[in-house]
């Protein structure tokens, strides 16, 4: 309040004029009501907020039809410990990016890390893809948004109190009907602290939900793969505790040139469980020794409906 106004009120405090005067006085604008010493505190709080916001989830970069951002699961790096960083891609409606095996066409998203000395990046952990089909050509990829998680190992010899700059050179192909190839350079800076890091709460559910979509190797379900002239037969042995029924299983191969992606995949019952019959690619001449890929069950594999992707990596055996 201005000194003059204060003085006036003090004079008439008990009189009727006080009430009249106070009624006519408009409340002071907020910047006048805050005492001066509170300004630096507020501005400090604001800048800390912005710093935190930027530090743990670098501003998204927009390339054509895709927003990209690096997001750390934790707020600091502990020397000698691993932590996870995700590449978050948000595609415009109807545009998609690709899985590690893009299918008949396309290009998988590629991340090249440029990390400080001693940091070791892992490989991209791919959530199971969606199947896109158009005019008889099939692709595997993602629409909407996708979180591509990478585990990074921090060296022991980094000093608490310093900052680490993690850079990623990212390339992707995004397609709707036409395709656009893009490259972005993303950076995230993280403080090094010699203690258990705090979780970046804002993105915790993204990490959790994405991890449910990663394909896992099962100890209960066994798969065997056989190949004949026209087909690949994936035998799925059911664990004894499984009381349900498998339906609509899809096989997504990691390697190209093995299966005909537009061919139907037929699930049949067998003595030990099921056989998924998949058509061979007409181009498949040189075959790998092992069949690697993801078996997707929309209803899950008996434990949780949400864990739908089973990883298989089995010898490919000739049946003639």
């Amino acid at each position: 309040m201005l000194m003059s106004q204060k003085q006036n009120l003090q004079q008439d405090k008990n009189g009727p004029e006080y009430y009249e005067k106070s009624k006519n006085m408009k409340p002071n604008p907020i910047w006048k009501r805050i005492s001066l010493f509170q300004y630096p505190l507020i501005s400090l709080a604001l800048f800390i907020f912005i710093y935190v916001f930027i530090a743990f989830s670098a501003e998204p970069q927009q390339s054509e039809h895709v927003k990209a951002r690096l997001i750390s699961e934790v707020k600091s790096i502990q020397p000698g410990e691993s932590f996870y960083v995700a590449l978050w891609l948000k595609m415009d409606k109807l545009w998609h990016t690709y899985w590690k095996n893009p299918g008949d066409s396309g290009l998988p998203t590629k991340i090249e890390w440029n990390l400080p000395d001693g940091f070791v990046p892992g490989v991209v952990q791919w959530p199971y893809p969606k199947r896109f089909e158009k005019s008889g050509l099939v692709s595997f990829g993602y629409e909407g948004e996708v979180f591509l998680i990478t585990q990074i190992e921090a060296p022991k010899a980094i000093k608490s109190g310093t900052n680490a700059k993690l850079s990623a050179s990212v390339d992707w192909l995004v397609c709707k009907e036409r395709c656009i190839s893009s490259h972005v350079d993303l950076v995230i800076k993280m403080p090094v602290k010699d203690k258990n890091p705090k979780i970046n709460g804002r993105w915790a559910s993204h990490f959790r939900e994405t991890r449910k979509k990663l394909s896992r190797i099962s100890s209960e379900w066994e798969a065997n793969a056989f190949i004949n002239k026209n087909q690949i037969l994936i035998h799925i042995d059911v664990p004894s505790e499984f009381k349900g029924e498998l339906k609509n299983i899809t096989f997504f191969p990691e390697q190209g040139g093995i299966i005909n992606y537009s061919g139907s995949q037929n699930l049949k019952r067998s003595q030990d469980g099921y056989i998924l019959e998949v058509q061979r690619s007409k181009l498949s001449t040189r075959l790998p020794a092992r069949l690697k890929g993801v078996l997707l069950s929309p209803e899950g594999w008996g434990n949780s409906r949400e864990e739908r992707a089973l990883h298989i990596d089995v010898p490919l055996m000739n049946v003639n």
Binding site: S105, S135, E177, C179, G257, K282, L283
Partner: protein, 206 residues
């Protein structure tokens, strides 16, 4: 009457069980005769594969807006292959199977303009907007490459090289299957890599 019905049904069954699968086999398979086709070029002239018996023929599926094709044309690499092997008597056809309105589709005039602009040197650019020839050959991507010997046998079906990428730097690092295959055919040798997984943008069929 029953016999007539039974006979008709048997004939139909026979047709579908025996002959229909053969129709699929008309798709381009290596070590088999390359399926014949007829397409107009950008100057209205008609070309049939059978017209070129006695010549080695290369088929290159094309879409100038596709990043994988841009890599090969912006670097001059595709044009260099067309010129080098054109001089050696190879008949190189670029084929566009994009449906009208979809990426890569060109009118003959636009296509001629692109040939000039890119300094391309195919023997002709063939227009397949119905996608019939693309489907006949099972062309999946742009680029998707085929080599046909002078006897009309398909000896290569697949990618242009072994590095799936849109980066120009990767061209020099890659093994170019078309170059290797053509050199082998011209030397009278067996083609060492007859198929590979084609990479590129999908052909924009109907």
């Amino acid at each position: 009457m029953k016999r007539v019905i039974f006979l008709t049904l048997s004939v139909l069954a026979g047709f579908f069980l025996v002959l229909a699968p053969l129709a699929r086999a008309a798709e381009a398979q290596v070590d088999k005769p390359a399926p014949n086709f007829t397409l107009p070029d950008t100057n209205g002239k008609s070309h049939s594969l059978s017209d070129y018996k006695g010549k080695i023929v290369v088929l290159e599926w094309l879409n100038h807006d596709c990043p994988f094709v841009k890599k090969l044309y912006n670097s001059g690499h595709m044009q260099k292959l067309q010129k080098t092997y054109g001089k050696k008597g190879v008949v190189w056809f670029s084929i566009i199977s994009s449906m009208p309105g979809k990426q890569g589709y060109c009118t003959p005039e636009q296509a001629n303009e692109l040939i000039k602009q890119k300094k391309a040197a195919p023997a002709a650019l063939l227009l397949d907007p119905d996608g019939k020839v693309g489907k006949l050959y099972g062309a999946k991507t742009t680029p998707h490459m085929y080599i046909i010997t002078s006897d009309g046998v398909l000896v290569y079906n697949g990618a242009i090289d072994d590095i799936r990428s849109t980066k120009v730097e990767d061209i020099a690092k890659a093994k170019n299957y078309v170059q290797i295959g053509l050199d082998e055919v011209m030397a009278g040798k067996e083609v060492s890599t007859k198929t590979s997984v084609p990479y590129g943008c999908s052909v924009k069929y109907k």
